[in-house]
Amino acid sequence: MTLVHNWHLGRRMEYPYFESRPKRQFAAIFNINRCIACQTCTMACKSAWTYNKGQEHMWWNNVETKPYGGYPQSWDVKTLKLIDNGENTWYTNEKDEKLSPYGVYEGDTIFEAAAKKNLNQWAVGYIPEDKEWRSPNFGEDVAKSNKPDEYSSLPEHSRWFFYIQRLCNHCTYPGCLAACPRKAIYKRKEDGIVLIDQKRCRGYRKCVEQCPYKKPMFRGLTRVSEKCIACYPRIEGKDPLTKGRPMETRCMAACVGQIRLQGFLDDNPKNPVTWLIRHDKLALPLYPQFGTEPNIYYIPPRWAPRAYLRQMFGPGVDEAIEKFMVPSRERLAVMSLFRMAQAIIFEYKIEEGPKVFETVIHGKKFEMFNDTVIGYGEDGQEILRTTIEEPIHIRDPKYLNSI
């Protein structure tokens, strides 16, 4: 084992390989507050990559209802149990912007739990059986009621559920990659995308076992495992639509609810993805305690119980929700970039506009300015331009009935 730094955990942790970060990391932000669980993303992926024989059970992208849903069933509860040592807490008194923005995690990661239990493999895990991959939307829209007699009111509902959108996290320290005894799984230096080499894979299912997010899937027909490929041809700009520019993946681009923004985590503070994750800390990793440093980030749902959310997204939850409820001028502008273009945005610029609205939200003053936000592509060219106030189009009465 070597020691690597995991900034989600705010500390070093054990991992079988050295720390080696890609030039820029494939990453995405999902605003849970906006998801309507229409599964358009799920079908966009299905129809591109897993429509074939032997892939019937595969949903590289899926949307499940929390707390009861799970694909495969109860994947998160089962993995949380495996790392539970009775003291999986966070030490949040001291933080460092760069090294430990959420504080320090004091429990075990999947790697540390395996070493502690002397498992003689790299990470704890389990293989979900075929029946657990069935009914991928089991538990849909089923609410949990903490106080059944009470009406719900914000900020926290007592009767709640929310949707969680899931795909491979293209982790910085992938459990799947660590688990593979053949080194058939690799993380690309250029964009951090994690892939299973389909020639080297021998269907051992160690990745299925040790990915805590259960995103590698075994294909019985071809006897090897497959997983989300981050639509890498699009990321490489091979799709003619964006004329050579890196393009967002199928599941991102298809998002009807406009909850998704995909791009790269890099060092540019004016990269909208980097800004929302590293600078604003509005978007949080999913189950950071697993220790893989996952790269899909979530804006937590503001109505769900905080304890549940803290378990799921770490201790950054309270601050993120507060920020989301009363967005700052810059935050509002950056959030307007979600789903405005298919080409990946590498940088944004804000041109200030006039103040158009003012109110008080949960006792806090909120001001809205009609700023213009501009998104730039990899080549520095403008990709899009949008305003905070969405333009209103009034249809000519002549066309009232036409579609």
Binding site: M1, R12, D108, Q121, E129, P181, Q198, F218
Partner: protein
């Protein structure tokens, strides 16, 4: 290693300890997750597997029934097996021994391996299912295994390659299946009809569905495991240490099996000499070494999770008796 975990949580301030611990790892492990081997493991066993020359024509059916007679007078060796405990992931331990016999007829060499396994696992289509398997391993080239040589009996080593013959129970099932590959419907016969009682359903049109070409990375990349129509039950591979196992471009080995009363009998055969430089070559009158492993599918054995012998076993080939 275990103490390390709690100490290193606050990383940066404990650099000194980090360094110390790295030194300790190095003493225990030759590579991450790989423990060093004992001198004993570099010494071959005393017992020699004599490959008897038998004059016999090739039977019409290459099955255990037709081939078993030629092993009648061959003296077998009993190979002790144990859990694989050197490279991550460790595992195995459910099969404690196997018997190996070998004969040749001047052109082909036959190995017969038998071991007891109360459960027969011949399919690996469901995600939680693993197959029974057995493999023989030979050093590549003219090698003298001595303690000084340090030729690893566990998957060989860098610059010390091995040739492996891996028999898989599911490949045998594939061989006789339609299209020479057991389809997912072999495991899930009603997969498309569970909720569908209409025999003329528009939802599932078997012919239409099966007429769509299979989109598969494994097949596109020419992964032998994914291909239908391999025409064999044994895979011919090479390795140069843990994690380096690679399928050969040229497949030369085949085999057959029989399972009865909780015992597997597997016969693996190949011509004594091949043209492939990556293959072990057998010369009557000459010698070589073998080692082996058995996988118990019921115990979810696969890859390094296997029952292994930890030493090389010498092989001598009887000369051809010309008549």
């Amino acid at each position: 290693m275990k103490n390390g975990i709690s100490l290193f949580k606050y990383g940066a301030s404990l650099l000194g300890i980090v360094f110390l611990s790295a030194t300790i790892y190095a003493a225990e492990e030759t590579a991450p997750g790989v423990k060093g081997m004992s001198e004993e493991e570099f010494t071959p066993t005393k017992e020699v597997l004599a490959v008897k020359y038998v004059q016999a024509d090739k039977p019409y059916h290459m099955d255990v029934e037709s081939l078993k007679d030629r092993f009648k007078d061959a003296k077998g060796v009993k190979v002790a097996l144990q859990k694989q405990d050197k490279a991550f992931p460790n595992g195995g331990g459910s099969v404690s021994s196997a018997e190996v016999k070998a004969v040749h007829d001047g052109t082909t060499i036959y190995f017969q391996i038998s071991w007891s396994d109360p459960t027969k696992n011949v399919r690996a289509i469901a995600v939680q299912e693993f197959r029974d398997a057995v493999a023989l391993m030979f050093p590549l080239g003219a090698v003298e295994v001595t303690p000084a040589e340090h030729f690893s009996p566990r998957m060989g080593d860098r610059e010390k390659p091995v040739n492996l013959w891996h028999w898989k129970a599911d490949w045998e099932a594939d061989l006789v299946a339609k299209g020479e590959l057991e389809d997912v419907e072999a495991q899930y016969p009603n997969m498309h009809d569970d909720f569908n009682t209409n025999p003329y359903s528009a939802y599932y049109h078997r012919e239409l569905i099966t007429s769509v070409a299979v989109l598969s990375g494994g097949r596109a990349a020419n992964n032998l495991l994914s291909q239908p129509g391999r025409g064999r039950t044994v895979e011919d591979l090479n390795a140069e240490g843990f994690g380096t196992l690679t399928t050969q471009d040229h497949q030369d080995v085949n085999g057959c099996s029989h399972y009865e009363d909780g015992t597997w009998t597997v016969i693996i055969y190949r011509s004594l000499i091949t043209e492939d430089p990556h293959d072990v070559q057998f010369v009557p009158g000459g010698n070589s070494y073998f080692n082996m492993a058995v996988w118990n599918g019921e115990e979810k054995d696969r890859n390094g999770q296997k029952n292994i012998s930890t030493q090389w076993h010498p092989i001598t080939l009887e000369r051809v008796a010309w008549q």
